[in-house]
Amino acid sequence: MSEFEPKIVAFVCNWCTYAGADLTGTSRIKYASNVRVLRFPCTGRIDFMLLLKAFANGADGIIVSGCHPNDCHYTSGNFHARRRWIVFRSLLDFIGIDVRRIHFAWISAAEGAKWAEFVNTVTADIKKLGPNADYRRLLDAGIA
């Protein structure tokens, strides 16, 4: 049987991490191809429901990344996002969802190498966790 290849969805902000991932590419750094990058105006725009939708659509892991604190294009979007993540992450953990499947990072437009390394680490971690079986069972049980 072939090795499990996880599906990872990355929610990234337009101004820092997306540009950083672009730099990874133009620097010809190779990294795991398991990641699907979704570009958002700002991490502050990333509704927690979108992360649930990623799981509901078969993601095994999620990356959320944006500008470092004090670097936000809109001044404070990432600060708002950070609060939301702190609350959301503790709620998911409480309800029994494995928060090791959701990874958060600050990656700037200059950190192409950090992006590659981060994606590789996350991919290796999710591979170890295996497919998101709990959530898949929900999907199978669901009518939608």
Binding site: F48, M49, L52, K53, A56, P69, N70, S76, F79, H80, R82, R83, R84, W85, I86, V87, F88, R89, S90, L91, L92, D93, F94, I95, G96, I97, D98, V99, H103, F104, A105, W106, F118, D134, R137, L138, L139, A141, G142, I143, A144
Partner: protein, 266 residues
């Protein structure tokens, strides 16, 4: 109780308010909300230990607003709700008359919201039993915790009674009714139920004042207020904030501090 009835009679006959929202005797030993507009009808008002419904839920309803200025019978949790509604600009000082009730059923006069603030800050948000129950679930291994919630939430029939009973769920159009895109699946299967309860708790994060009305309204007895209680504890721990103690308080998720601490962002 007579003190309460006299007060209501006075408010209505002087024309200070046009309607009073209070508790009345229902059927089968249950209490129901009553809306009194006639000073001669105050005898149907009661107040005892069964009066646990959070009547603040009616304050923002257009049908109730049509009745004119309202007074509301307000035990501790209703007082906190009123402060939270004021903090969210849904009520202003003087929009309603507050008939405060203490634990013994004695009337408390609140001339303004500042007086309410001084009163409610004396009380803790979470009881010792609640904290113990939260601890118990937190200590379960992850898989057991997942199974626990799957079992509880699988009973949910998506009647949204929790939403209807909650005085802070006042959006005129809820995300569950939005179908372009469909955020939450309509049928009550396990996925939709999980998403609904996560969303409900998140939308009340930093706002829930823990009146417990959602859990009391639930016809399937799902302990869904544990989710909001968990968030109350986390928010107090991380941001040192409490909902329902200030009429001008900041909302947790729409504010931030540059030095908010976390340990999971790379």
């Amino acid at each position: 109780m007579q003190e309460l009835r006299n007060k209501v009679k006075e408010l209505l006959s002087k024309g200070t308010v046009q309607t009073v929202i209070g508790y009345g005797e229902g059927t089968a030993g249950k209490v129901r909300p009553v809306f009194i507009t006639d000073p001669g009808n105050t005898d149907s008002l009661i107040f005892d230990l069964r009066c646990k419904q959070n009547l603040a839920v009616y304050l923002l309803k257009p049908e109730v607003k049509q009745l004119g200025k309202a007074a509301v019978v307000a035990p501790l949790f209703t007082l906190k709700t009123i402060l939270q509604l004021a903090a969210e600009f849904q009520l202003a000082d003087g929009d309603i008359v507050i008939i405060g009730m203490d634990d013994e059923g004695k009337l408390i006069e609140f001339p303004d919201l500042a007086a309410v603030e001084a009163f409610v800050t004396r009380y803790d948000d979470l009881s010792a039993e609640t904290k113990a129950e939260l601890d118990r679930i937190e200590k379960m291994p992850l898989e057991e915790r997942w199974q626990y919630w799957q079992k509880e939430l699988s009973r949910c029939i998506k009647c949204y009674a929790c939403r209807a009973a909650c005085p802070l769920c006042y959006c005129t159009r809820c995300t569950v009714e939005i179908n372009q895109p469909q955020w939450i699946a309509v049928p009550s299967h396990d996925l939709g139920n999980l998403e609904w309860h996560i969303m409900r708790a998140m939308h009340l994060a930093g706002r829930c004042i823990n009146c417990g009305e959602c859990a009391r309204a639930c016809p399937l007895d799902i302990p869904l207020n544990l989710l909001t209680q968990k968030l109350i504890r986390e928010i107090s721990l991380h941001f040192n904030q409490r909902a329902g103690i200030g009429s001008k308080a900041e909302n947790t998720l729409s504010t931030f501090k540059p030095d908010d601490k976390e340990n999971f962002i790379n």
